[in-house]
């Protein structure tokens, strides 16, 4: 559904309610080792096999910052057009939980490594700029497993100490759709940068969603509720919708919203209270005395900036400018680094216009249907370029090309081989084509007469019959030339 103008409101009998959304995204940093220890961060290891004495908070163990994680956070900050803070401080966030071995999480509270920035979204109603409040580094906790045993909880500390970036947006989002777009854009940027794989199933990307509502036109924000730890975009959209409706109902019945933390029940499609503001933890943040304040040289940041890869927005602009494609098409192609890479590989040796259509229409249809990633596409970029060149040179028609493409998908073979094996090569011998044309006209002398007496619509009929007689292989251009000549006789 395409929208001309933004119109997401909760509509009731008397009011239009605007929905205000802010996101705290937790993005797992791509790094081989944890934020403060040398243990592996690999996903899916046997429980408690990637745990060091630091991760499990043994007496006398001390954290040592992983420089690579700092680089990753700075790169992400640069990708978000954000201010990099040359001085940042790691704090302890104190709370007791069985999967938090030290009894505190090392995080950044008052002095995050990255300050204000922004992300640009392409919405059907135009571009929208979403403010970034901050990005800070923190450790992940371990995992409590409650369903292995009826009487006991098991703890897996593999995740304990893995580096996370918490990216906090300003309350600039106004609809589930914008949230969808924001998360995807954030993910794309981080994937381009190689700083977070964005894999939501594995928990590499999750978000706390802050929702409030206000009557359309009002300036003051309403009281917000925070929906904790939502781990899919669809659930985020559902949670926002149901939470906004819940708040509107409360307000319309004349009651007040309590500021609280809520959980989203995906089965019932509703949020429920987890703890109220009064019950909120007092985390007793204070600077971690085991770590000195983190000081970064401007030259360190400059160097990272210099080596930053092309980012989606830059790539999009380049595609539009260099390849004369529409913003929509450019968006689609840059939404994933692998797609844009594939596209650029194909057009190295083939026509841009054909390439973008074949990728966006034919290839995406196949990939979606088969649910495979473009990295594993059965049709390699080289083979697709070859197919496009066969079309451009007139060796096969677009129609035959679709048949060849289907076989390429199934076999992974290259197009010329398929064409040869299946005898799909275009009929371009003028003498042979003349024979076919004459045969068709001879069969339909009555229609030839009608054509000559002015019924020009019949031209298409003749083309159709000729293509049929050549099993679709006749070169359309040549057919045209010969047919016109013959009909003039």
């Amino acid at each position: 559904m395409s929208k001309e103008k933004f119109d997401y409101f909760i509509k009731t009998e008397n009011n239009y309610w605007e929905v205000i959304i802010g996101l705290e995204v937790h993005a797992q940093v791509i790094s081989n080792s944890k934020l403060f220890s040398g243990s592996s961060t690999k996903f899916g290891g046997k429980p408690n096999t990637q745990v060091s004495l630091v991760d499990s908070a043994f007496p006398g163990m001390l954290p040592v910052i992983n420089k690579y994680c700092i680089e990753q956070a700075i790169k992400t900050g640069l990708g978000l057009n954000a201010k990099i803070n040359l001085l940042s401080i790691f704090d302890r966030k104190n709370y007791f939980y069985a999967d938090l071995p030290a009894g505190y999480q090392i995080s950044q509270y008052k002095n995050p490594i990255v300050g204000e920035g922004s992300v640009t979204l392409d919405m059907p109603y135009g571009t929208k700029r979403v403010g970034i409040e901050r990005l800070h580094l923190e450790q992940d906790a371990g995992k409590s497993i409650h369903d292995l045993n009826p009487d006991n909880t098991y703890i897996d500390l593999n995740r304990s100490g893995v580096a996370l970036m918490e990216i906090v947006s300003k309350p600039d989002l106004r609809s589930p759709e914008e949230v969808n777009s924001y998360i995807k854009k954030l993910r794309t940027i981080m994937r381009y940068l190689g700083t977070c794989d964005g894999n939501m199933q594995e928990g590499s990307l999750r978000a706390d969603v802050n929702v409030s509502v206000r009557k359309k036109g009002e300036k003051k924000f309403g009281t917000r509720c925070e929906i904790k730890n939502v781990n899919s975009i669809r659930f985020m959209e559902m949670a926002i919708e149901s939470e906004a409706k819940r708040q509107v109902e409360i307000l319309e019945s004349g009651k007040k919203i309590n500021q609280e933390t809520r959980l989203f029940d995906t089965k019932k499609n509703e949020t429920r209270s987890m703890r109220s503001k009064e019950e909120a933890h007092d985390y007793r943040y204070f600077p971690d005395p085991d770590l000195l304040p983190l000081q970064i040289e401007q030259s360190f940041v400059d160097n990272l900036k210099k080596n930053l890869p092309e980012l989606p927005d830059q790539k999009k602009d380049r595609f539009i400018k260099d390849f004369k494609i529409s913003p929509y098409e450019a968006n689609v192609l840059v939404s994933d680094n692998n797609i844009s890479q594939y596209f650029e590989d194909v057009i190295k040796n083939s026509d841009v216009k054909l390439a973008k259509n074949w990728i966006i229409v034919e290839l995406f249809a196949v990939l979606n249907k088969k649910n495979i990633d473009i990295k594993n596409s059965p049709v390699s970029s080289k083979n697709l370029a070859n197919l496009i060149n066969l079309i451009s040179s007139g060796e096969i028609s677009g129609k035959i090309a679709k048949q060849v493409f289907e076989l390429m998908v199934n076999t992974g073979d290259e197009p010329s081989k398929i064409i040869k094996e299946k005898g799909l090569k275009q009929q371009s011998d003028p003498k042979e084509l003349e024979k076919i044309v004459k045969k068709v006209l001879d069969k339909n002398t009555d229609k030839v007469q009608q054509f000559k007496s002015g019924k020009e619509k019949l031209y298409g009929f003749f083309v159709g019959e000729i293509m049929k007689a050549s099993s679709g292989k006749a070169n359309p251009k040549l057919v045209n030339d010969i047919l016109k000549k013959e009909l003039k006789k």
Partner: protein, 485 residues
């Protein structure tokens, strides 16, 4: 044969190098002393079989060319020792056996030393009299009713009683210097970051520092040389070249300037301590040192500042003792919260609980600014006081403690009077500076009294030299009749 109880570590090292005494003979000597001295309750754990084995291994070596060749050494039970129980004086770690060795103790073993056992201390190093240990109070060899000081009370007592030729302690607010002063021994707290904290059970991370405890200044220089090192596993460790403190030790202090801070003349200070201080000043004057009156105006805020910062950090550092991963776990309680409450309720002693409570309180939202943040600001001012002074002087001389060793039980019911004992030692920790306590005399009851020298960051060599000079003039004599044997 020489009386090993009456010679210094430095002399023992010489004897070993000359093969006049073997590591095994030393070990047997100390084991005998320790077994005859159980009354003093210095040890939480001994590992004699291992010590004997390690001594034999050492004696079989060809090369004795290390700082501590085959020297048996007992260490405070706050240092994690691989495969040897490490309790921090607490029930909550009663049966904790680390799989790793602290950097500081590793350094000792690298220099040839062998572990004799683990010394008693106040629970998690919280105390000034070694009366808070879960493993019972330690007795001062000076007199049977006296505390040995704390928190490194097991260390000071064991050293004074010759259960170990030297030892190491940790000093968060005076825990090396005060017990040294109470037992007539030498104790040095190094510059924050000179010795690695890796593998030391943490009390207050921004203040904790390991240091040597010895019978004289020369031994102290030797031990400091052995234990100090840059350690990339400790982010607060100072990256600098190792110093040869013992080789460079000398008494040439002529022309130096020593500051005397007026704020250390506190009310009700015993006359004997005043006299001791004057004696120190006179000795320095005679040695050609210029005495300069200085002011450290924020001194009076040091104690309250310390008792905010240290408990705040401790409340967080001790959160890991929750019964989940290691250490004591109560079997009472129906759910996680009750398990926590019972484990910590049963596992921690009163003084630890008191400080966890204070620390939690001062970090709480609504109180943070008034307590913790303000304390951090004052801490900076205290540091600045010292910085200003060190523009004018090379070191500062003060008494180590406001009194000599007190009686067992005398202050246990009054935490404030106990805390007041740290009044001369805590400013140094807050400022991250090095300081040494050396025995300088006895009071009328024959109890030792110490003088404290404070120097600028990383100025340990000069501080040791001054201490060395004072020591040689003061001629302190320990009178122990080994009444406990």
């Amino acid at each position: 044969m020489v009386d090993l109880n009456n010679i210094s570590l430095t002399e023992i090292v010489k004897l070993v190098k000359l093969k006049k005494v073997s590591s095994l003979e030393l070990t047997n000597h100390y084991i005998k002393n320790i077994e005859k001295g159980k009354k003093l309750n210095c040890f939480i754990t001994t590992c004699f079989d291992e010590t004997i084995k390690n001594s034999k291994t050492f004696d079989a070596k060809k090369n004795y060319d290390t700082l501590l060749p085959g020297i048996p050494i007992a260490v405070k039970d706050l240092f994690c020792t691989k495969d040897v129980k490490t309790t921090a004086g607490s029930k909550i770690l009663e049966n904790f056996v680390p799989t790793y060795e602290s950097t500081v103790t590793s350094n000792l073993w690298k220099e040839g030393a062998v572990l004799l056992g683990k010394l008693n201390c106040d629970e998690f190093a919280m105390g000034s009299s070694n009366e808070t240990s879960f493993f019972g109070k330690v007795i001062n060899p000076i007199e049977k009713n006296l505390v040995p000081g704390g928190s490194s009370g097991g260390s000071s007592s064991a050293l004074a009683a010759s259960f170990t030729p030297a030892t190491i302690g940790t000093d968060t607010g005076g825990s090396i210097r005060q017990p040294a002063s109470f037992t007539g021994t030498v104790g040095l707290k190094p510059t924050y970051g000179l010795c690695s904290r890796w593998g030391i059970v943490a009390f207050a991370s921004s203040l904790d520092q390991a240091g040597p405890m010895t019978k004289n200044v020369e031994d102290c220089a030797l031990m400091l040389e052995a234990i100090s090192s840059y350690d990339k596993k400790d982010s607060t460790s100072i990256n600098k070249k190792k110093e040869n403190y013992s080789k460079n030790l000398n008494k040439n202090i002529k022309g130096m300037k020593i500051g005397i801070p007026k704020e250390y003349r506190v009310d009700n200070m015993p006359k004997e301590i005043e006299q001791l201080w004057s004696k120190g000043i006179d000795i320095l004057k005679k040695s050609g040192v210029k005495i300069i009156d200085i002011s450290l105006p924020h001194t009076k805020y040091a104690l309250p500042t310390y008792y905010i910062v240290a408990p705040a950090e401790a409340s967080s550092n001790l959160a890991r003792y929750d019964g989940v991963k290691f250490g004591y776990r109560s079997n009472k309680g129906k759910n996680l919260i009750e398990m926590y409450e019972n484990t910590r309720g049963e596992g921690f002693g009163d003084e630890v609980k008191r400080r966890v409570l204070i620390g939690t309180y001062v970090l709480s939202s609504g109180y943070y600014d008034a307590y913790y943040l303000k304390a951090q600001k004052v801490r900076k001012l205290i540091k600045k006081d010292f910085d200003n002074s060190f523009k004018k002087v090379d070191a500062i001389l003060t008494p180590s403690t406001p009194s000599s060793a007190f009686k067992i039980g005398e202050k246990t019911s009054d935490p404030i009077s106990m805390y007041l004992n740290d009044i001369f030692t805590v400013p140094v920790n807050l400022a991250g500076l090095p300081a040494i306590s050396l025995p300088a005399g006895q009071d009328s009851k024959g109890r030792p009294l110490g003088l404290q020298l404070i120097s600028n960051s990383l100025d340990e060599q000069r501080m040791l030299n001054i201490a060395f000079a004072i020591e040689s003039e003061i001629k302190f004599k320990q009178n122990l009749n080994r009444w406990w044997e």
